[in-house]
């Protein structure tokens, strides 16, 4: 039960679980390290910092969705494929119609995938890990088939402004998206009965059901939410890159899970944090940015990033297991 840490005797820190503060400490440490090591490469410049936030926006949005999914005791492995499908659907529709229809098409693709995943998990009673493992592969195939591996450009200025290069009162639109997603996510997670029920369901599904919570509907809702966040991420990639391709989001799944876990969300449900998810995902983005600025080769970047994520997870999850 005791937090086994040398900080135990400091009253304020001993109250906190390591998982709730390690990510902030780690973030500050790495930030400080880069700020010193890369002071001549412009790491601390406003444009570089804003760049980090903008490049991370799709991952941040997906991580927020994943926090809800993991907290409910489920997992969604298909989000990477949903990113590509939503971006492609949106781009294809925008070739012939206006941008709003394109956005609607992208979002509906996400909702539909979520409904299928959710129905299989909540009503056909299959484990979400296996269901979404299967739909991940299936949808990756669909994404390749949709445009026969071709990329689809998007030129609509309203769309690319809104989801990519635009700005609101001088703030880049992707930064606005990050702020909006975090505020909404945090509010629903911490301040509504829905968030409380997600946590309770992930914690003890039988207790939640005995308390009158409609557990099956909630699990479906959470998977739809996760998948819809991935679709939004697809639109954000599309707005920034201005072209949809089946490779979009391909490598994001593990980054998202790492960001969520490093941010204090447990893989086995019942505990999590949306603000931690933001820090976790910014940490991933900052690592990408800093390691590139350091001039490391791609292979070296991958190794260093993997090592730092591993350390972060070890520190985050080093809390004692729940006592029986």
């Amino acid at each position: 039960m005791a937090v086994r840490s040398r900080f135990r005797r400091i009253p304020l820190i001993s109250q906190l679980e390591p998982s709730t503060y390690v990510v902030y400490l780690g973030f500050l440490l790495i930030f400080a390290a880069f700020a010193i090591l890369l002071r001549d490469e412009g790491f601390l410049s406003v444009s570089n910092l804003s760049n980090i936030v903008q490049e991370t926006t799709p991952v941040t949005v997906m991580t927020i969705g994943m926090v809800f999914v993991l907290s409910a005791g489920e997992i969604d492995l298909s989000i990477g494929s949903v990113v590509a499908i939503a971006a492609l659907a949106s781009a294809v529709v925008m070739r012939a119609h206006n941008w709003a229809l394109g956005v609607a098409a992208g979002l509906s693709a996400g909702v539909m995938v979520g409904l299928v995943n959710g129905a299989l998990v909540a009503y056909a009673r299959l484990p979400s890990f296996l269901v979404t493992l299967a739909t991940m592969g299936l949808l990756a195939g669909v994404a390749r088939w949709m445009t026969n591996l071709q990329s689809v450009p998007v030129t609509d200025a309203t769309f690319t402004g809104l989801f990519g290069s635009g700005s609101l009162f001088g703030i880049p639109s992707l930064v606005v998206w990050t702020a909006l997603a975090i505020s909404l996510g945090h509010y629903f997670y911490r301040e509504t009965p829905f968030g409380a029920r997600v946590l309770a369901t992930g914690d003890n599904r039988h207790a939640a059901r005995a308390a009158g919570i409609k557990v099956d509907r909630l699990r479906l809702t959470v998977l739809v939410l996760g998948s819809t966040c991935a679709a939004v991420a697809g639109l954000l990639y599309l707005g920034r890159i201005q072209s949809a391709r089946y490779t979009l989001g391909e490598t994001d799944l593990l980054t998202v899970i790492a960001a969520a876990v490093v941010g204090g969300t447990r893989l086995d449900g019942g505990t999590g944090s949306v603000l931690g998810a933001l820090i976790g995902s910014l940490l991933m983005g900052m690592l990408n940015n800093g390691l590139i600025l350091m001039g490391l080769a791609v292979s070296e970047q991958m190794m260093v990033r993997g090592f730092i994520i591993l350390v972060a997870i070890v520190l985050t999850l080093r809390e004692p297991r729940r006592t029986p």
Binding site: E191, A200, D203, A211
Partner: protein, 248 residues
């Protein structure tokens, strides 16, 4: 005022396929009264609790709440009628704070669609804990940081907070140590003052004699008899449970 019993079971019978789990059971429980249900393993005690809670509808017979005939097909229907059940396996969400567990599924919000009213839930939890004389470090503690006795006390507090008619307890102290058991018994005795009807299933005859007003004995699904606790003794109850001496 309605003087009909809070719960009245009439000729309840339940069979699963060809196996009769409960046959022809009739029992009244009044408000402010604790009735104990005793019997050997497989006597049908837990089945009876599940019938009243709406988890297994009875094959035949009737259930009346304060005189009103009810049919439950689902636990949420019995909850809506003011019935709460406490199971021995502690149905609590371990990583959530005490107050969230108390309000699970019925969270307080500021206004209809407003944000969670955490301060309100915490205050109400603290008041309830004071009333029931339950000592916990804080209403904000996570359940996993509490002892088994504290957890069961919280289950009971939750049930009594939401029950308006009847509390069913299936072996509420089976998982607890001696001091924790006596603490929980103290709380159960306190519930009589809240004018609820209480049905408790227990294996411990000492406990049954300490707590109950009436004792209902089951054996292999049959109702052997109901005794007033003050006018019987352990020997009689044991012989009724084991069937060594029929006293119908």
């Amino acid at each position: 005022m309605n003087t009909a019993p809070a719960l009245s079971l009439g000729n309840i019978r339940k069979s699963f396929g060809g196996i009769v789990a409960v046959e022809d059971l009739s029992l009244d429980i009044h408000r402010g009264e604790i009735v104990a249900l005793v019997g050997d393993n497989g006597a049908g005690k837990s089945t009876l609790v599940k019938i009243i809670a709406g988890m297994h509808p009875p094959s035949s017979g009737e259930i009346r709440l304060a005189g009103e005939l009810v049919h439950f097909n689902d636990p949420s229907q019995s909850q809506a009628k003011g019935i709460q059940v406490i199971y021995q396996d502690l149905a609590l969400a371990e990583n959530q704070p005490v107050y969230m567990n108390l309000f699970l599924g019925r969270e307080k919000t500021k206004g209809r669609f407003g944000p969670l009213d955490r301060a309100g839930m915490i205050a109400e939890t603290e008041e309830l804990m004071r009333e029931l004389n339950v000592r916990i470090p804080s209403a904000k503690s996570a359940i996993r940081k509490l002892s088994g006795g504290q957890r069961q006390a919280i289950s009971i507090a939750r049930a009594t907070h939401w029950a308006t008619n009847l509390v069913l307890m299936d072996e509420p102290t089976a998982a607890l140590g001696i001091t924790e058991t006596s603490k929980v018994e103290e709380i159960i005795t306190g519930l009589k003052a809240r004018n609820l009807a209480i049905l408790i299933v227990s294996h411990s005859l000492d406990q049954v004699f300490r707590l109950s007003d009436h004792i209902c004995v089951l054996r292999r699904g049959k109702q052997i008899g109901v005794r007033q606790t003050k006018q019987t003794d352990k020997n009689e109850i044991v012989s009724m449970i084991t069937g060594l001496k029929e006293t119908a």
